[in-house]
Symmetry: C2
Subunit: 295 residues, 2 copies
């Protein structure tokens, strides 16, 4: 086939994948080519637009570093990350809904004891007491589960965005106790814009979209024989709950972070200023059903 | 809309583009989101595949430099470049078909006189005499047209791929004479693999595809009141004519590069070894009809 035009080129590209030895790669690449070509035909993509896309993707790649992943941000702001999460983590009765991991997760966060204060002692922002209960789908507590927590500071910045990213704070790895619980002190997270000084931020702005996310605390929870849960708990009342720039909000993940006057906290600590509290129960799915459903 | 799942997330992403003030950007972005989401749903994209794609795109961006455009190469090998060319340059009777620009075009190539030898004096490869006639759709010659030419050496390498890319060769900008002709000497181009030491080459290999292009000479031709033509003339008999890695071949762009014994060439030059010749007529389209059809 040598007289390739607007219509025939697609069939010829698909034919070239016929000899591939990896059936999954062949399936994914041929679907990608079909959709990519259909898109270009549908919008009658101009040569100037094609070149603008080449330049955009190049700048996006060159913005990436060990503390910045601009392509994940692009995927997040196009709703692709939420879509892939939804495809791979269908909801099961009795479990907590998942949401996007986001770009600020750190492997091997500092190990913490229950009751610890993970704020790093800045003394800024409202104190927050968190009690997380981890259960199976029947509500039975799971002791010994590993719970990773991270969130922004009161100004909306993560530890890794501040300075050289060397000092970790508002982040920790806990283990549930015999009652399936993790407790800790920190400070209230704030709503914040996703990094918007790069190509993805420019595209949001040109498209009339804001870069803000509603305030939340991230949780990932893992336990033997259970499927790992990646989720957030959002702060009820946040003005960005209906327009999260990365499409991560789900109603069941919004919770009131209760306000309290000065006085005695649940762990006996005497608070000399107002404080907040969050209690949330996380339901995990057995690993077996996950494997059978994700196949 | 807060309970975003595999189906509802797409509508919510599209809704966020409702406030865009640039109607074309809104049209293109919403079509892109629809096709991207349909693709991910159709193949049930896994989280591992999503992350592999993020890493692939990041490496592709980071491979780009001032002498390497890996995203154009990706577009070329997915047939997107040929598709965009076909959409924007529909064929008109009496004109030469267009094909992809490729990554080796250089702005402001050295200006050459008709009859010049543009090989740079390597003395390697078979000598080639080229006579290009430029006409309008009725066959009337166009004097004063600007003709840019570039091609690989006898080993399949372009000047900019050799050394630091400082020495230009087998490349030049000519002007058609009163008879609408450009003539020059060079050496025969060879078939060659597209640069395949990067992510795009890895993807071709994993997909069971070869990176080769059939031998060709590039031409871009511009003249006042005519639409710029970007094309190649391929060497008849090349083994890769039916499997060009970038989908650039069209039957009407394949021409015999005639073989001649030692003796007198058309410009009077006495050749002491065998030589080849190419004569090709290029038909240009009026700029008016181009504008009306491309609208």
């Amino acid at each position: 086939m040598r007289e390739l035009d607007e219509t025939s080129v697609t069939a010829e590209v698909l034919r070239r994948y016929a000899d591939g030895t990896d059936p999954r790669l062949k399936f994914v690449m041929t679907a990608l080519v079909r959709h990519l070509h259909d898109f270009a035909r549908e919008v009658s993509l101009t040569e100037a637009e094609w070149f603008a896309a080449v330049e955009f993707l190049t700048r996006t790649g060159q913005m990436c570093s060990n503390v910045r992943q601009e392509f994940i941000l692009l995927s997040d702001t196009l709703g692709l990350s939420t879509l892939v999460d939804s495809i791979n983590n269908p909801w099961v009765e009795g479990t907590t809904r998942s949401t996007v991991l986001g770009p600020f997760f750190v492997q091997d966060a500092p190990v913490m004891e229950n009751g610890a204060d993970i704020d790093g002692g800045t003394g800024k922002g409202e104190p927050l007491y968190v009690e997380a209960l981890v259960t199976d789908v029947s509500g039975k507590p799971i002791p010994g589960a590993t719970v990773d927590i991270w969130h922004s500071d009161h100004d909306g910045f993560y530890d890794v965005q501040i300075g050289a990213g060397d000092e970790l704070a508002r982040r920790g790895r806990f283990t549930t106790d015999a009652q399936g619980k993790v407790t800790f002190w920190t400070t209230m997270p704030a709503s914040y814009p996703v990094p918007h000084d790069g190509p993805v931020g420019q595209l949001l702005e040109l498209s009339g979209r804001h870069p803000w996310r509603p305030a939340h605390v991230h949780f990932t929870i893992a336990a033997p024989n259970f499927r790992r849960l990646v989720t957030h708990v959002f702060v009820e009342g946040d003005p960005y709950l209906d327009s999260d720039a990365v499409f991560g909000v789900k109603d069941s993940l919004i919770k009131e972070y209760e306000s309290h006057p000065p006085g005695r906290a649940p762990d006996g600590k005497i608070m000399d200023r107002p404080w907040r509290s969050l209690a949330y129960t996380f339901g995990l799915r057995p690993a077996e059903s996950a494997a059978s459903q994700a196949a």
